[in-house]
């Protein structure tokens, strides 16, 4: 069964890679399997881990049922009305609930973690010293770079003031920082994408063909 599985996996892998040569029926077939299997996978996992384990066992078959959870199940069922165009508008209720809950949670956590605490961690003595009180020049430079980068970056994202004079210069410096940031992201993203392919090649060459260890 294990060997059979490896062959299946290898054939599916090659089927998808055939797209790199050109779009073809084999790729389309593997893509269709991909869409079907993923949707099925998610549905099964969400059914057993949530609907069964949490709701059914927690609220229906439990000795000490949590009746509040029926509220969630009702909202969930209302979501499914979207499948029927005539009553589909009811699905806006559970949607409204999710949107509201997310908005409420995000409003504070983003403000606190990504705005206030990031501001706080930029506020520090620029001159970095070690325990003995000697100045650490590289760290001091780094702190200064962060200070300048954050301030000018924020200036760039100011929309209600024209970018002229000192403000304009600051905004321009801000874009330089943004570009270096994007460059770093770019390099890292390339690294990630290559790793994905290395993983697949490792599977084909070692698990399937046994060319390498």
């Amino acid at each position: 069964m294990e060997l059979f599985g490896i062959w299946i996996a290898a054939l599916l892998t090659l089927g998808i890679y055939s797209f790199l040569y050109k779009d073809n029926p084999v790729y389309k077939a593997t893509e269709a399997i991909f869409v079907g299997v993923s949707a099925g996978y998610w549905a099964v996992v969400y059914y057993f881990d949530n609907i069964y384990k949490k709701f059914w066992e927690g609220a229906v078959t439990s000795d000490n049922p949590d009746y509040w959870m029926y509220g969630g199940a009702v909202l969930g069922l209302l979501f499914l009305t979207r499948l029927f165009p005539k009553i589909g508008w009811i699905s806006r209720w559970p949607l409204a609930f999710i949107v509201g809950a997310t908005a409420g949670l995000y409003m504070v956590i983003y403000f606190v973690t990504n705005a206030m605490n990031q501001t706080a961690s930029t506020i520090m003595d620029i001159v970095a010293r070690n325990a003995a009180g000697e100045i650490l020049w590289m760290d001091t430079l780094g702190t200064l770079v962060i200070l300048v980068g954050v301030v000018t970056g924020l200036v760039y994202f100011f929309f209600s003031k024209e970018h002229k004079g000192v403000f304009g210069t600051a905004a321009k410096v801000g874009t330089w920082f943004l570009m270096i940031t994007f460059g770093a992201s770019f390099g890292y993203t390339v690294m990630s994408r290559m790793s994905l392919f290395i993983g697949r090649m490792d599977f084909l060459m070692s698990d399937w063909l046994h060319i390498i260890k």
Partner: protein, 418 residues
């Protein structure tokens, strides 16, 4: 089977090494090495078999800033918990009366000096005891413990709090920014002008549309792969309105391939309105906005094919983009199209910046849509957010100056810890 043999052999070797090392460490009082991290020591030397001393000055109090049902216990380490390995950990137990019986509510590893009992009853008082213990394997090879003699402390009763005092400054700033957002929305609704600065990518729209007209080629507008519930898609559609108006004026074919049915409906509406507003409702065809597929890569591949076949002069990417961004931008670039992109997905921005002529970065996308639509909600929020940015910007500048010249500290105003 092979593994089994190895395992047994190793087991023996490991035990020998462990007992030797633990004995050595205990005798020499050397600092306990993290490397030989044996939880259970194998000790046969009876001289060492004394219970560790209990932790000192145990503090028991209601856990602050919570919804009740929790008590916080902290202590100073047992004098034996000094890296000698004589303390394996601490046991925390509680009782409703000072004399017991005590039930264990948790444990802590050596070196730890606090514990939260999260299973209390707000209507009852509890006494707590923190004991240090030493765990070893006895002659029969079973785990055994030597436990310190500790006196119980308390009583304490857990209570829920009405306000989380750690978060007072967060609340203040949140209210200030929220108030300014609402204030500016109201102001914009009354018709007050709210200034939005120029945005390079948007200024280039005219030129880009003009170029397509000159060349007699199509314009593509790609609104991303998210549905209408994503603010980026909404911002993208607002920009589409502006592009459509220009396309209608110049009489250039604007094509909008979409990946979600809802987006298709909204985009059609918005384009029809734009064509009507410049007096050319007849020039709009529903076929200009068409659905391809919901699937991420399927959508990218389909646009790819269209771009290669039709070689549009100008392509706009405005909305939420993910990994498909680079496939789209690369293909558009390879046919020599002018490309203007805008997204708030930080990981995709590099690809747009490197492969497109103009890129609206993050918030610029929203600013552009506010700027073009002149909608009070959007304009007001943009201005309100700027107030927030101003607060944080000033805080950083003032804070750094104060800290660098050792004048004062305003960190507490912004640092939110649990």
């Amino acid at each position: 089977m092979k593994i089994q043999v190895q395992k047994n052999e190793l087991d023996i070797v490991k035990r020998l090494v462990l007992s030797a090392s633990v004995l050595f460490l205990i005798h020499s009082e050397a600092s306990f090495s993290q490397e030989s991290a044996a939880l259970t020591s194998n000790v046969t030397d009876t001289v060492l078999m004394t219970a560790p001393q209990p932790p000192i000055s145990v503090t028991i109090k209601d856990l602050p800033n919570d919804r009740g049902s929790a008590v916080h216990i902290s202590w100073e380490l047992s004098p034996d918990d000094n890296g000698s390995g004589k303390v394996t950990g601490y046991i925390i137990s509680r009782s409703e009366s000072q004399s017991g019986p005590f039930e264990v509510v948790g444990d802590a590893v050596r070196g730890a000096n606090e514990f939260s009992d999260n299973q209390t009853d707000d209507s009852k008082q509890f006494y707590y005891k923190v004991e240090a213990f030493f765990e070893y394997l006895n002659a029969a090879g079973e785990k055994a413990r030597l436990v310190s003699v500790s006196t119980p402390g308390g009583p304490v009763q857990s209570v829920p709090q009405w306000f989380n005092a750690n978060r007072k400054w967060a609340m203040l700033w949140l209210l200030v920014v929220a108030a300014s957002i609402i204030f500016f929305i109201e102001k914009a609704k009354k018709g007050d002008q709210i200034y939005v600065r120029k945005i390079a990518g948007i200024d280039a729209v005219d030129e880009a549309v003009g170029r397509a007209t000159e060349m007699g080629k199509k314009i593509y507008f790609v609104p991303g792969i998210q549905d209408m519930n994503d603010v980026q898609t909404i911002a993208g559609i607002a920009i589409l309105g502006r592009v459509a108006r220009l396309a209608a004026e110049y009489d250039t074919w604007l094509e909008v391939p979409v990946s979600k049915a809802m987006v298709m409906a909204t985009a059609r509406e918005s384009m029809k309105e734009a064509y009507t507003s410049v007096g050319r409702p007849d020039a709009f065809h529903e076929a200009q906005v068409h659905y391809l597929t919901d699937d991420q890569f399927g959508y990218a591949a389909a646009i790819d094919g269209m771009v290669v076949r039709e070689k549009p002069a100008t392509i706009f990417y405005m909305g939420a983009f993910f990994a498909e961004s680079l496939i789209l931008a690369e293909t558009g670039n390879s046919v020599g199209a002018i490309q203007i992109a805008g997204t708030a997905q930080p990981a995709q921005l590099p690809f747009f910046v490197a492969a497109c002529d103009y890129t609206l970065i993050g918030e610029e996308l929203f600013a552009a849509s506010a700027y073009l639509s002149r909608e009070p909600r959007q304009l007001g929020s943009l201005k309100g957010q700027d107030v927030g940015k101003a607060i944080f910007l000033l805080a950083i500048i003032i804070g750094v100056l104060l800290a660098t010249f050792h004048i004062g500290d305003i960190l507490f105003l912004f640092k939110v810890t649990n």
